[in-house]
Amino acid sequence: MTARLEDMVGTPWRKPPFVRSAALRWTLIVGTIAYLIAAFATIEVDWGRVYIGLERGWQFILGFANPDFTSRGKDIWEGLLESIVMTVAASVVGIAISIPIALGAARNIAPLPVYLVCRAIIAVSRALQEIIVAILLVAIFGFGPLAGFLTLSFATIGFLSKLLAEDIESMDRVQAEAIKASGASWMQWINYGVQPQVMPRLIGLSMYRIDINFRESAILGLVGAGGIGATLNTAFDRYEYNTAAAILLLIIGIVMALEYLSGIIRARVQ
């Protein structure tokens, strides 16, 4: 390094740019700006409609001040119950299936063929949006919560198995090895060497997934897969903002309660 003070004093100093190559830098900048302009330009906005909408938005906010739980009380109650039922059942089944798949998808436990199969299952489950899965399942199994239940179970597998497998892969190998060295069988090895290490994470992830499943169950009704979504959709269709506000408040309330609960549980298992 031949940095000499005499050369540098008096010269201005600039922060070295993030992208070193000037050509690349300018391409990126110009490209980004061009994209943003093009993107904004192609959004068609009917400002008159938006203006009318503002008043309606205000009505909607008023709807929150005065939510209507009663005029569709029966639908709301049944829809909500159905959402909860779907959430519980799908979480239980999804988590139960996720665990063996996670074991199979952890490279440090599973042999290569099993690993590939499990990873493939995870990839498929993660690539398909819940709503799209629900559309297909509704077409196949008919309307109703069964399709929603299957959708959520399937989505749970992708989420939980992947994160759990990552946790298993990063577990302390030596602890597991020590169990192996005592002559434990494979099942005992998993039970003593692996399970204690990943249990807190499994519980944390499961709680988080229950939370997600409930939120998702609230929209599956839009495509006929059961839950509160159908009622919510009807409320919007019929411009019944007070009812829609009531449903949204219930959803927010339940999600907050779930989050609080999962916080407590996660803190308890550390």
């Binding site: 009917d46 938005g57 039922v85 690539a127 949006q129 077409a139 919510l232």
Partner: protein
């Protein structure tokens, strides 16, 4: 104490009797709840359809293959819209999430008593409502179209980004902030020099992560009329044009895979 002294020999159980009872009861309760839930689902299900499902699945499959490839020419614009909804929505969300995150982080909030709870409320309420529901709401308010999609994605993402961001802010090294404060820097300078550089990697990571998620979400927003390729999906479904549906699904799948690839690349470049 799980160790019991029984007639001179020490007996060891993992749990005391009471703990075991509580656990068994807990499991029993859990199983009962599950059975009840399953019962309800089962009651609401037309099992005739379920037994029939393999035939229908096969039927749909045969009708959906091969995809109607020439339909792809009509998908250009919807794909462009989909990408815009995700990208613009993410950008807007990030702009709004930054101040919310600073107001919500324990170490930067101006008032832990009043402002922080408000910021947290914004985070929770935007997060707990799915973007499809936001889209429904916005379509009612500002009418169907891409704009509703962009705004729906933006609102849904605020809470998500702000939450991750404020957790990152709470984890910053307070020493570096103190060092900048000690130079006599103003509040904003402390922010710009002490805090912002520290959360920059987290910020970039969150942005890319959320963009990836938003691509997925924006593909289905059209189902409720908020623009993007979902619109084509829903109209194809409405006329039972399964070969078009299968093509659209393929396109969505490709978009999701590409976006995952892009975000993995970008994240790799940042970290």
């Amino acid at each position: 104490m799980p160790v019991l002294d029984k007639a001179g020999t020490q007996v060891w159980h993992r749990r005391t009797r009471n703990e075991s009872l509580v656990r068994w009861f807990g499991w029993l309760l859990g199983v009962a709840v599950f059975v009840v839930c399953w019962q309800r689902i089962s009651d609401a299900t037309t099992w005739f359809f379920v037994w029939d499902a393999p035939r229908i699945a096969d039927d749909i499959w045969t009708r959906a293959t091969p995809p109607r490839w020439e339909y792809i020419t009509q998908l250009g614009r919807p794909i462009w819209d989909t990408i815009n909804i995700a990208t613009l929505g993410t950008i807007i969300a990030l702009f709004l999430a930054v101040p919310v995150a600073f107001l919500a982080a324990r170490n930067t909030t101006p008032s832990a008593l009043i402002i922080r709870p408000i910021a947290l409320l914004i985070i929770v309420s935007t997060r707990s409502i799915n973007s499809l529901i936001w889209a429904l709401l916005l379509i009612a308010i500002i009418g169907p179209g891409v704009l509703a999609g962009v705004v729906a994605i933006a609102i849904r993402s605020i809470g998500f980004c702000a939450k991750l961001l404020y957790e990152a802010i709470e984890e910053i090294d307070i020493k570096q902030v103190e060092a900048i404060t000690a130079t006599g820097a103003s509040r904003w300078q402390v922010m710009a020099y002490g805090i912002v550089p520290q959360i920059m990697p987290a910020f970039a990571g969150i942005a890319v992560f959320r963009w990836d998620i938003n691509i997925r979400e924006s593909t289905v927003l059209g189902l409720v009329g908020a623009g993007g390729i979902g619109l084509q999906l829903s109209s194809s479904l409405n006329v039972l044009a399964w070969p078009q549906v299968s093509l659209i699904l393929l396109v969505i799948l490709a978009a999701v895979v590409i976006s995952e690839w892009v975000s993995a690349k970008v994240r790799g470049a940042i970290i």
